[in-house]
């Protein structure tokens, strides 16, 4: 996938001009948090679950060599062929080789962010394979030639009217109304059903890999992933090695976090565990199954200070709660993963040079860390990346110098207090009449969008000291 994270600010400026899309983002930003909150409150003991899963994940990642080897062994015992890929190119070639070995032409594909990461669809299509996305959201954006704007709801940036136009153009089914959302879903169901029945290869992702028994866990609401896993004669499971968890019960515990954080459901409609090809007396299922495991710098992340990022379960809660994501949408981030998790993963999986703006696309409000089901300290990791940018001189020179000056001033609190004690009363006097400033030197980034409130006369430290003094006096009395 072509990366445009370098131009995040320009992408964002463009994105906020589209009033329709901005409105849809606003609705989601208002709708999703209460849905998640209700599901979590119903659970009653969510924090204990969160800490339990975090402990299991850390244990698993700390000993990933052991659990991955165990998964591989069990998975091979179940009849799978397991492949390892260092990077996206290697990954795509492995998948293409499997398809070509079976002279496959038609592929039914379930939702997989990993294959978005490697650009698998384009790669297979260049080799003349007919790859059809079958998750409704992924199908819509594939037909529109777009990329996902959200990791859970990839087509939520599009209106029903746009999707109607798209279907009328792409599906040669004669004149029809498609007035309701249900009509659109029904039409996609019909088109995709035919593809499912004719596909030779099914490709799915995995939400977890279970070391103790070699099963992979797949969760969907539509059931499309299960159709991909059961109908074609070849199944390829595309995922990454950090999905490994020790036991089946660990995967189901993680699922409790995932569904509530992603969609507010207590359980996804379809939660399936697949072990391998059809058994001796089975009448259905794939004849051959492959598991392709991508590294793509994850082993580097594991050994780095950013290893907690591998606990991410791709629920999208941090996107749904991020004020920056809500304002600019997923496409502005310029790669596969948007929002807070994407602002960390993108620099780590591509390069910091290509995504300098992303760690700065953060207001440090901390909502993402509050809602992250696996308790990843997202704002801290974003700050560490900003620090790295400064160390590697990737940010602009005036910005770095400004930050340096600011840091120096903060290290000299007496001087800082003295300067603010002069500056604040002056700003108070100047802004007294209006109560705010519509323009301020060196702050037009702020004042071009909104007024800057005029200080009320005293600095925080002056007020703090006065309050302490008053309470001491009261205590003496």
């Amino acid at each position: 996938m072509q990366q445009t994270s370098e131009t995040f600010l320009e992408n964002a400026s463009e994105a906020i001009k589209d009033a329709g899309k901005a409105q849809r983002r606003d609705i989601l930003a208002q709708f999703m948090p209460p849905v998640r909150d209700a599901a979590i409150n119903n659970f009653e003991n969510f924090e204990a679950l969160r800490q339990h899963v975090k402990k299991v994940q850390q244990h698993s990642l700390d000993n990933l060599d052991h659990y991955l080897a165990q998964f591989e062994q069990e998975s091979v015992r179940n009849g799978n062929q397991v492949h390892f890929a260092r990077d996206g190119d290697e990954f795509n070639s492995i998948v293409l080789d499997i398809c070509q070995q079976h002279s496959a032409r038609r592929i039914a594909k379930g939702k997989s962010m990993v294959t978005e990461e490697t650009g698998l669809n384009d790669f297979l299509q260049r080799a003349n394979l007919d790859v059809m996305e079958t998750d409704l959201g992924e199908y819509i954006i594939q037909q529109a030639g777009e990329t996902p704007s959200h990791i859970v709801g990839p087509a939520l940036h599009k209106s029903a009217a746009e999707i109607r136009e798209l279907f009328l153009e792409k599906h040669d089914l004669g004149p029809r109304e498609l007035a309701e959302t249900a009509d659109l879903v029904g039409e996609a169901r019909g088109v995709l059903r035919e593809h499912f029945l004719n596909a030779e290869v099914g490709i799915i992702g995995a939400n977890a890999l279970i070391a103790e028994n070699g099963y992979s866990m797949l969760v969907t609401n539509e059931g499309n992933g299960d159709l991909c896993a059961n109908l074609p004669r070849i199944l390829i499971i595309c995922t990454t090695m950090d999905r490994v968890l020790p036991r089946a019960e660990d995967a189901t515990a993680m699922l409790r976090l995932l569904v509530r954080s992603a969609t507010g459901q207590p359980q996804t409609c379809y939660t399936s565990y697949y072990s391998g090809p059809r058994r001796e007396h089975d009448t259905d299922g794939p004849l051959e199954t492959h598991i392709v495991l991508l590294d793509n710098k994850r082993s580097d992340i594991l050994a780095s200070d950013y290893h907690e990022m591998l606990q991410c379960i791709r629920c999208g809660a941090c996107l749904n709660h991020c004020p920056v994501y809500a304002s600019v949408g997923g496409h502005a981030y310029g790669w596969v993963y948007p929002g807070p998790m994407g602002s960390i993963l993108t620099p780590l999986l591509t390069s910091l040079e290509q995504s300098v703006a992303l760690p700065n696309a953060c207001t440090s409000c901390g909502r993402c860390a509050e809602v992250c089901p696996t308790d990843i300290p997202l704002p801290d990791l974003l700050r560490d990346l900003r620090h790295e940018e400064a160390m590697e001189k990737l940010s602009s020179r005036p910005w770095r110098q400004g930050m340096k000056m600011h840091a120096w001033l903060l290290r000299h609190p007496r001087l800082y207090h003295a300067l603010t004690a002069i500056g604040i009363p002056i700003l108070h006097l100047l802004g007294r009449k209006r109560g705010s400033f519509s323009r301020l030197p060196m702050a037009d980034g702020w004042t071009s969008q909104r007024d800057f409130p005029a200080p009320q006369g005293k600095t925080f430290m002056q007020l703090y000291k006065a309050r302490n003094k008053a309470s001491r006096t009261r205590a003496d009395d």
């Binding site: 609705i27 700390d62 390892f84 599009k158 059961n230 019960e249 399936s272």
Partner: protein, 232 residues
Amino acid sequence: MTNSARSQIFAKLRQASRGAPVDTLERELQAMGRAPAAALPCPDLCTAFLANVLKNQGSVDCAADRSGTVQVVGQYLYQHYRSHRLVAGNDPRLAALPWRDAGVLPRFGSVEPGEPVALSFARLAVAETGSIVTWTGKANPAANNLLAEHHIVLVDSADLVANTEQAWDRINQDMEKSGRPRGINFIAGPSSTGDIEGQLVYGAHGPHSWHVILTGDVPVTALHEARDLAGG
């Protein structure tokens, strides 16, 4: 390519690993205990399960014995589809039911295009999530869960467990005896999607409707109480 990729990846993982011995890892996992499960809506398992099925947009019924089971299946078929036909997997438990008594005409096998109703006999049900569990295999071909417009599921109350951990205990016991099935499917509702403007639509790829019949020893008040709990 793959072999060298494998050894390179494992070499990097080993560098980042604690390298703890297996018995230490097992001890650590044991010490973590079990994850908390979701609170059940009421203490009675049958009622809690039925309430959660309803919350998952399924419909429910109960039957005390084999004769009652075929009657409720027959009534449901006729009321909803004006039909007596359905497709069921080659499950001996389904084959043994007295279908003729209720005038139901089952065909045993895998759903074919144009056959709208499938029937499965679940291996397990989970009260916590309101889900039923099927194994892939000739007793329940995957198409029957996924390709029919309407999915009816029977589950015996003796196979009802409180939470997913208990479900896995049962699955693991079964796997020790009979080996690992190709697929284990937890189903908790009709197929659904919210991918268009977040609006929930049923029947995305799989069944539009999902009807669960709890058989065997079920408290007489369970259905009524479950409906109250689910708010319907």
